[in-house]
């Protein structure tokens, strides 16, 4: 792939990317979230078309209009979200869309074929089982088999180990080595340094949509080098707030807290966190390492299975979201339209989402409509949200306006604790700046802020202290002033388990 450009409305995902993989190798594509890895590989797999650039296989230039063109040229991709029919069996899923399947199915033959293929690559799977009964790891095996059966010579996997148990990951690595040993190419998207190290022959690193390391041999690189390539080694950008010495007085304490995720698996493993009065604690980490569950536990939306949550010394474990709100915990959720706001209701209704149940908005079981409207108007004015009125439909606001409005509502609670999850994601520069300033100002008036963000720069700029979350554990806590990107990058990628500095 030479000179690949790809832009989506508002974002440049790839810019002048060159990428080359050889037959018979496992090639890792490394980078942070949003570095453009998936986009680049989706272009190779024919899902997207590049704005510029050229793709060639064995020296022959190719242009894919659809994934099936790519399959025809032997390129197959296993996406993060599997595309299987849950109610059908493994064998039926393998048949789906396979060329040359006769109208009268000879199912036995295909089942035999699938079993043989599975044995060859250590992909143990019973072809007669329906997909909905399979674990995520087994479904992944079906996806890989499906891709191989379609004759893929170049197999692309998008963060395949993100959903696997350690044992399953190990099995997968063995399978990938086997596939490469037969002369095929395996391209492996990841941000976990250790597994890249253990399985890949060469590595290409993307940062901000461009290549920073092109096909380097793994043997020549240390884990530290890879981390530096991935997150960059530029000096931390100017801090937005003046560094504070961590207050000795903790306000929010998570003591030995464990919690499950929505699928019932352990997402937080006995973590210990303290956020002081007037402190911003930044949580760094690659998405999906327990951030979502951490925010929910603090907001009272998810109950810990172990441990205690304390607010100003009082046990508030399992008191629920409403009680947490009343105790002064504000929550800026990651999905502002899906969770923080109700798009089909007017702004006025959204303004009182956290305060409709008590005076002055409520009077006994009744709502005082006039106060609802006044309150909405107040939020719009005080936070300078132009062009919107209390009766405007919420879904018609822009992303920046929505986030300002949501923040305005949460700030109006005079919060003692603010849980902010990806508070600036998708916002333009002006809105980003404003949101960040508000968070700092809230901190200055002695609120405690738990800032969860996948943007490492943001975490480093805003936080007083930084904790790194990796696979549900706090792998280190450090003052933001002394933190460097390389060290954080290593910890985020799971290469560094020892706690650094004082908690």
């Amino acid at each position: 792939m030479v000179g690949i450009d790809k832009a989506f409305p508002g974002v440049v995902a790839n810019l002048g990317v060159d990428f080359a993989a050889r037959w018979g190798e496992v090639h890792a594509l490394l980078g942070e979230n949003g570095a453009g890895k998936t986009t680049l590989m989706s272009i190779l797999a024919g899902l997207y078309r590049p704005d510029a650039g050229e793709i060639s296989i064995d020296g022959e230039s190719v242009a894919f209009h659809a994934p099936r063109d790519a399959i025809r040229h032997g390129v197959g991709m296993v996406y993060q979200h599997y595309r299987l029919v849950a109610s059908q069996t493994v064998a039926e899923n393998l048949l789906l869309g396979l060329p040359g399947v006769p109208f009268r199915l000879n199912a036995g033959k295909f089942i035999r074929q699938a079993t043989e293929l599975g044995q060859r690559y250590h992909l143990r799977i019973d072809p007669s089982r329906p997909v909905w009964q399979l674990s995520v790891g087994e479904q992944q095996r079906v996806e890989i088999l499906k891709t191989l059966q379609r004759g893929a010579k170049i197999l692309i996997l998008d963060e395949p180990t993100a959903v696997l148990t350690p044992q399953e990951s190990e099995d997968l690595m063995r399978t990938l080595r086997q596939i490469a040993a037969e002369g095929r190419t395996v391209i492996f998207i990841s941000h976990k340094l250790e597994e890249v190290r253990s399985v890949a022959d060469r590595v290409t690193v993307l940062r901000g949509g461009s290549v920073v390391a092109n096909g380097l041999a793994i043997g020549a690189l240390s884990t530290r080098d890879m981390a530096r390539l991935m997150v960059g080694d530029d000096m931390p950008s100017t801090r937005l707030n003046e560094q504070r010495v961590a207050s000795t007085q903790p306000r929010l304490v998570l003591d030995d807290v464990s919690a499950l995720n929505a699928r019932g698996l352990t997402a937080l493993k006995r973590i210990h966190l303290e956020v002081g009065v007037g402190e911003i604690l930044g949580i760094a980490g690659v998405a999906g390492n327990g951030q979502h569950e951490l925010a929910q536990v603090v907001a009272g939306l998810r109950f810990p299975t172990h441990g205690q949550v304390r607010l100003d010394g009082r046990d508030v474990t399992g008191v629920g979201a409403r009680s947490m709100t009343r105790r002064g915990v504000a929550h800026i959720p990651e999905d502002r339209m899906g969770e923080g706001l109700v798009g089909n209701l007017p702004l006025a209704d959204n303004a009182v989402l956290k305060s409709y149940d008590r005076p002055p908005i409520a009077w006994g079981p009744f709502l005082i409509l006039q106060r609802v409207l006044q309150f909405a108007q107040l939020l719009l004015e005080r936070f300078n949200i132009r062009g919107a009125r209390p009766d405007s439909a919420t879904r018609l606001l822009s992303g920046g306006q929505l986030q300002r409005f949501l923040l305005a509502r949460e700030m109006a609670l005079n919060p003692r604790v603010i849980v902010a999850v990806h508070p600036t994601r998708g916002l333009d520069v002006a809105a980003t700046q404003q949101v960040q300033e508000w968070l700092v100002r809230a901190r200055d008036t002695s609120a405690s802020v738990l800032l969860i963000s996948e943007d490492l720069d943001e975490v480093m700029q805003l936080s007083d202290r930084i904790a790194v979350l990796y696979e549900g554990e706090i792998v280190g806590t450090m003052p933001a002033a002394g933190a460097n990107r390389e060290q954080l990058g290593l910890m985020m990628a799971g290469a560094h388990h020892a706690a650094v500095g004082v908690a």
């Binding site: 659809a66 899906g338 209704d349």
Partner: protein, 367 residues
């Protein structure tokens, strides 16, 4: 150039336009039905005249139309409450029967004992509400706590309720003086509503009107009404706000069933004056259509309810003109089909014809 037709969701259409579209749909439906009537050798114009005459042509038809609208509108008000939180209560029919059962139970005690009407009627109304709500309790609990599909459970319970009432009127509650007909004893005067005018209209008319007024107030100006709105639009946001989604669902369902139960009581005290096994001409199912067409708004439910009452009476009138009653039903059917299938569809969606350059059409097909 490639031309594609795409379906788009509309924003809220202005009220005037919505009424225009629906009126047009009624006219188109009537024309289509008229063609069918004409094709079978009867005069479509006579039929149309009969429907109008029979539903709105004078004080007797109007009173009949309003009388028919009472149970429809009352159940539909409740249905609309459940629908607002996305609970598809199909059990209005069964809850209506159970409400009638509850009211009769109280009547059997207080009627012969000579309780004054001002005591007995409210007691029966309350019993109707409680019995209807109780019938919605099981599906509501199964849905909110165990995720069991409420469409199936409410529908199934309809049959149970009808059979239960049938058991009572064939067995323990059969009128000993009723020459073995499957009826309960006739209600004494202290258990019935006074009639208004020369038709079947009765003072129970105030029940749906009052209920609609209360609902309008409750939905807009109480915490519970607010919670219904939030849960109905976005259950995740409701949870985020600390709203107890389960109990909101449960209470919405109880009110929904309770309203259908009230309708059962009103129908007994207002028109039938006894309990039997054929209380309802599918009122509970028709109410679903009414609630939907009214966009779940209480005042609109009243208006649409009256229109449906008119359709029912128009059907009777057609048969009096010597035209088979089945053709009256055909007319009702075509009008409904056009209103629901076309009028309602076009107030919610619009067709956009898009002509796009070939390139982008091709690329959109790959994604």
């Amino acid at each position: 150039m490639a031309v594609s037709v795409r379906l788009e969701r509309r924003g809220n259409l202005p009220l005037a336009q919505r009424i225009l579209v629906l009126t047009l749909a009624v006219v188109l439906g009537a024309v289509a039905g008229g063609v069918l009537v004409q094709a079978t050798g009867y005069s479509a114009l006579t039929a149309a005249g009969a429907i109008l005459e029979g539903s709105f042509g004078g004080s007797y038809p109007i009173s009949q139309t309003l009388a028919a609208a009472i149970p429809l509108a009352t159940i539909a008000l409740g249905t609309a409450v459940a629908f607002r939180v996305q609970l598809w209560n199909i059990g209005g029919e069964g809850q209506f029967y159970m409400g009638a059962f509850g009211a009769t139970g109280v009547e059997l005690i207080g009627g012969p004992a000579g309780w004054p009407a001002v005591v007995l009627l409210p007691a029966m109304l309350l019993a109707g509400f409680i019995a209807g709500a109780a019938w919605a309790l099981l599906p509501a609990w199964l849905r909110a706590w165990h995720g069991v599909n409420e469409i199936i459970t409410t529908l199934m319970l309809n049959y149970v309720a009808v059979l239960w009432v049938n058991y009572l009127v064939y067995g323990p509650w059969k009128d000993p003086a009723g020459r073995n007909f499957p009826f309960s004893p006739r209600f004494p005067d202290n258990a019935t509503f006074a009639r208004i005018g020369d038709g079947q209209l009765h003072v129970g008319l105030i029940v749906p009107v009052l209920a609609a007024a209360i609902l309008v107030f409750v939905l807009a100006r109480t915490r519970w009404g607010y919670e219904l709105r939030v849960v109905g639009e976005n259950a995740d946001a409701a949870r985020y706000a600390g709203i107890n989604v389960r109990s909101t669902m449960l209470t919405a369902m109880l009110v929904s069933g309770g309203m259908a139960g009230v309708a059962g009581m009103v129908q007994l005290s207002g028109i039938i004056h006894l309990l039997n096994g054929q209380l309802s001409a599918n009122y509970g199912y028709t109410a679903i259509i009414i609630a939907w067409l009214a966009r779940l708004h209480p005042v609109a439910v009243l208006i649409v309810g009256v229109l449906f009452g008119a359709l029912v009476n128009g059907g009777y009138a057609v048969s009096q003109e010597g035209i088979p009653q089945a053709l009256g039903a055909v007319l009702q059917g075509t009008i409904l089909f056009f209103v629901l299938g076309i009028g309602d569809f076009f107030t919610r969606y619009r067709l956009r014809i898009i002509s796009a350059p070939l390139a982008s059409a091709a690329s959109s097909s790959t994604s």
